[in-house]
Amino acid sequence: MEDLNFQHKARARAGGSRKSAIIGVVASGNLEVLAERVLPDGECRLEIKTAAVGFGDVWQAVVADFVERYSPGGLKFSINDGGARPDTVSLRLAQAVRLIEEDGQ
């Protein structure tokens, strides 16, 4: 297992008022993303625990691209990863933002 942490500045606060959202399952080639609205509006943090050791550079690129595209200000993402490919990671991150931006609790 490897722990990776990334901290980014976000252009804007993520929409909606939901406090948290979860998507995905920890399985081979899959991951779960727990998004929580716990940070100041301009900040974004990702805490990753991954079973695939040695892919920090790939994670850094995927995360930077994600923050640029979705501007998830105020959100902390906690990730348990079972060795997902970068495209699956991008998809789950996008799904997590979409979920927390929906109406509801």
Binding site: S20, V25, E32, S78, N80, Q95, I100
Partner: protein
């Protein structure tokens, strides 16, 4: 509480009809099974009650430890629910996973009037925390029987990819009633376990047709282990759960004795059969070899006509 996923503009009932129970995640199953928006999770993922053991094995954790528990409504009536996530470590029972189900069942026992739905999807005990997992199975079985003794209906819904094996099969055997779909399999020892211990001549685990006709939903329905067979949709399981909640009667010593007689009778009738097809033939099905190929609606008609139920027992 965590958020459900939305798919376009489809209404929940329409989505429940078109969503495969087998392919859905545990969270999706609960969202579509219960009345829209009624689910409230207990000990949700944001509380991070993860397994204390997996870290030692350098294995990834899941925030809900592979089981979602909570309460919701079914046709307006309150229910307690637990759904195993079969894709996380095969839906296996670990210490926390098991404790969440024990807690839910004990709450049901105290409340007495609210039924419990268990959406099984499990290979059995999690090998990395085997002692804790085995203890959890024993605690859950006791909790199911205590809840039922207090008047609680405990319904098992089985249609996940991991089936319902090992200790999960034992717990299912303790439930008031079961609903199953074709992909749902119910057994204690799985195909590979039997082959490993007894040899390939006893059971060829690579023979998928053999696995399905021995442990699959259709056979379990015809034997009376499962009371309702449903097509593989979330709506199908919702309807099945409502039907079972309606027909399950009170539990007591008389029922347990009737169950013993039912099982002894079953063993007497079919104990000499070499294959499930022999059992179906003995049950009076004319073209028993065609049963695995029957579409769900035709099979349900056949099962309602011929299949046994455990209604007077269990």
């Amino acid at each position: 509480m965590t958020a459900p996923i939305k798919h376009g503009v489809q209404f929940p009932a329409e989505r429940a009809r078109t969503t495969s129970f087998n392919e859905a995640s545990a969270r999706m199953r609960l969202e579509l099974l219960l009345d829209a928006g009624s689910f409230l999770e207990f000990i949700g993922p944001e509380q991070r009650e993860v397994s204390p053991h997996l870290k030692i094995f350098d294995l990834p954790e899941q925030f809900d430890d592979g089981i979602v528990v909570g309460r919701g409504r079914l046709d307006g009536a309150p229910v307690l629910v637990a759904a195993q996530e079969g894709r996380f470590m095969g839906g296996a029972f670990g210490e926390v996973h098991g404790a969440k189900l024990v807690g839910l069942l004990r709450a049901a026992r105290e409340i007495e009037s609210i039924p419990v739905l268990i959406l099984f999807d499990t290979g059995g005990v999690r090998l990395q925390e085997a002692n804790a997992g085995e203890l959890a199975i024993a605690e859950i079985m006791r909790a199911v029987m205590e809840a039922r003794t207090a008047g609680v209906k405990v319904i098992g819904l089985i249609g996940g990819r991991s089936g319902c094996y090992g200790g999960g099969g034992l717990i299912a055997g303790c439930c008031s009633a079961l609903a199953v779909s074709e992909p749902g399999r119910i057994a204690v020892s799985g195909p590979e376990v039997i082959e490993t211990n007894r040899g390939v001549e006893e059971f060829d685990s690579r023979d998928r047709a053999l696995v399905w006709r021995t442990m699959g939903g259709k056979h379990r329905r015809l034997l009376g282990a499962a009371d309702v067979f449903t097509d593989d949709t979330v709506q199908g399981f919702r309807d099945a759960a409502l039907r079972l909640l309606d027909v399950v009667g009170p539990y007591g010593l008389d029922k347990l004795k009737a169950e013993q007689i039912r099982l002894a009778d079953r063993l007497r009738s079919f104990g000499a059969c070499e294959d499930a097809v022999d059992i179906w033939t003995a049950e009076g099905i004319v073209h028993a070899e065609d049963v695995p190929e029957l579409p769900a609606d035709q099979f349900i008609a056949l099962a309602d006509n011929i299949g046994r139920t455990s209604r007077d027992a269990r």
